[in-house]
Symmetry: C2
Subunit: 332 residues, 2 copies
């Protein structure tokens, strides 16, 4: 068991050739005669040699690593992005260096760490300060924001039509006779949460509904549950509850059905956002808005890879359409 990590020099010696020959054989653009290639590959196999990606990176100037920053939300959101991103990237030979950001906070530290590792690009679903973004731009590291917005040019964006889809929810509910509604907001600092709220308000106005009651549920189950409990005396006046995410909606349903004995959609209609796994469970059958997260993140990585090749591309903003998933909790 020799077990030292073998280098291209070891392979070269074993094959009786120069080190640069080995390098060429292992590089896509490298040219080598068939015999040479054969000899080298044989030697490499014998030593179980694979080029050291770190050394390659240093020399080549690209790491083939994509940095990804995700927000650790109510642990429902990111399995999807992770699969989409890693799946898509592995096909093109990139790896993912992962950073997790806390919900409220900015992902600035994460950016710093990724920058130190010279990732080729950053895909981010977390809030970032202008300054962090400026650093990326200064170091010419492409950055694409998913469901976030920055005013900087040079930054690509992929978002879903959060505003419009929430607006459509209001119109839909109105069309089914709903008048008085309660909107469960997400955190003030969350861009998506705000858009959904604004969009819903606008929809209410357009539909001639009264301004919705509003409560802050912080995107959590407890937030939804407790808000519903708090409104228990006024619940008779409310025709529907719309929630900025499914988790709060589920919390509200649990309170309404299991604590207050109400029935859904009979007594109250409920609409969520995100189409989380729970939404389709029999006891909930939650009508919700599905963002094409998978497609969004595929697109985001595509943009990133593209901009690595061609840094001067004009920056792109992509808006992808969400889909209404009508289930039993509210129909129109």
């Amino acid at each position: 068991m020799t077990s030292r990590r073998h280098t291209s020099y070891d392979v070269a010696k074993l094959a009786g050739v120069s080190q640069s020959a080995v390098s060429r054989v292992f590089s896509p653009s490298g040219s080598a005669s068939p015999e040479m290639r054969d000899k080298i590959l044989r030697a490499a196999k014998k030593l179980n040699y694979k080029p050291n990606a770190i050394a390659q990176s240093l020399s080549y100037g690209r790491t083939r690593i994509i940095g990804m920053i995700i927000t650790h939300f109510s642990n429902q959101i990111y399995p999807v992005p992770l699969n989409a991103v890693t799946g898509n990237l592995m096909e093109s030979g990139e790896s993912v260096l992962l950073q997790i950001a806390e919900p409220g906070a900015l992902g600035d530290d994460a950016v710093q760490r990724l920058l130190r590792y010279r990732v080729d690009a950053i895909v981010c679903t977390s809030d970032l300060s202008k300054q962090a973004i400026a650093h990326c731009i200064a170091e010419k590291v492409p950055i694409v924001l998913v469901n976030r917005k920055s005013s900087s040019p040079h930054v690509d964006h992929v978002v879903s039509d959060n505003f419009e889809s929430s607006q459509r929810v209001a119109l839909g509910l109105a069309s089914s006779g709903v008048v008085k509604t309660l909107f469960l907001k997400g955190p003030e600092s969350n861009w998506v949460a705000q858009l959904r709220y604004k969009g819903y308000q606008k929809g209410c106005r357009e539909a001639g509904m009264p301004r919705p009651l509003t409560a802050d549920g912080q995107f959590t189950y407890e937030g939804g549950y407790e808000t519903a409990m708090k409104y228990s005396d006024r619940i008779g006046e409310i025709d529907a509850i719309v929630s900025a995410n499914d988790t709060m909606a589920i919390g509200a349903i649990d309170a309404l059905v299991y604590e207050m004995g109400l029935s859904i959609p009979g007594d109250v209609r409920i609409v969520g956002h995100n189409d989380s796994p729970e939404a389709r469970l029999k006891p909930y059958q939650l009508t919700t808005i599905r963002q094409p997260m998978d497609a969004m993140l595929k697109k985001a990585t595509e943009l990133a890879l593209q901009r690595i090749e061609n840094p001067d591309l004009p920056s792109t903003d992509i808006i992808m359409a969400s889909e209404l998933v009508l289930r039993k909790s509210a129909v129109w």
Copy 2:
């Protein structure tokens, strides 16, 4: 906007010192006079200089990157590991290079990729071939397996007491008068799933219960749902359903309650495994087994970091106790 990436040489020149002085100031063990340190830090700040981690890695022989391989299961499992691992590692200044393995398949490719990036250690929750493990050992990359088993020495393991906890479920159910049960198995190839099955069987034997009926639910909601439907005519004979994970248990409940009109635990008791987020929802109130996943993964990263420092440590197998979470679906 100069925007080239600055190196320690740029800082050195600006500060009028040697490059190695810069290196020292940025290394924890480096010694430098206060004035020098000050001068250099000032220059570094001006250029927004941070050492290039890739170059550091190449030179230092350690990347400060931990490879992590997780299985993309029914998207419920890994938010926890990710937080535990990344949280723990970031404190010690390591980053996580992430690989996602498909449920059935081996994580061998993932290992290869991580090895090429010279990760300092690998934490893996996926199945691996002997050969992949051998490669890690040959390259002296510590590897710790979470809820998996390998016969190789030099490999650390962190597992929960899957066998015993399932065994205790049988004993508990028996103590509450349950006799005839159905066990929802996970995939044949899954080590944890098998242990839970075997443990449960053993428990049944010890408790004097008849051998449980068995069905394969593949760890999915549909698997649980359809199995329950399939047994609908014989459901009267069954006192309890035990499932190797919560997802299948939830599927079964949905079939029993919403399709067959049964009540739980009145007509059938249900026990799951994992304490997934859904388990605590009002309509389910699922009695389940909670593995201390967070603690397990913290321990796993600790072992990994430890073995990086001291490669010749004897290999460690840690078994962590699971916790019974009694909810309404089955009580004893």
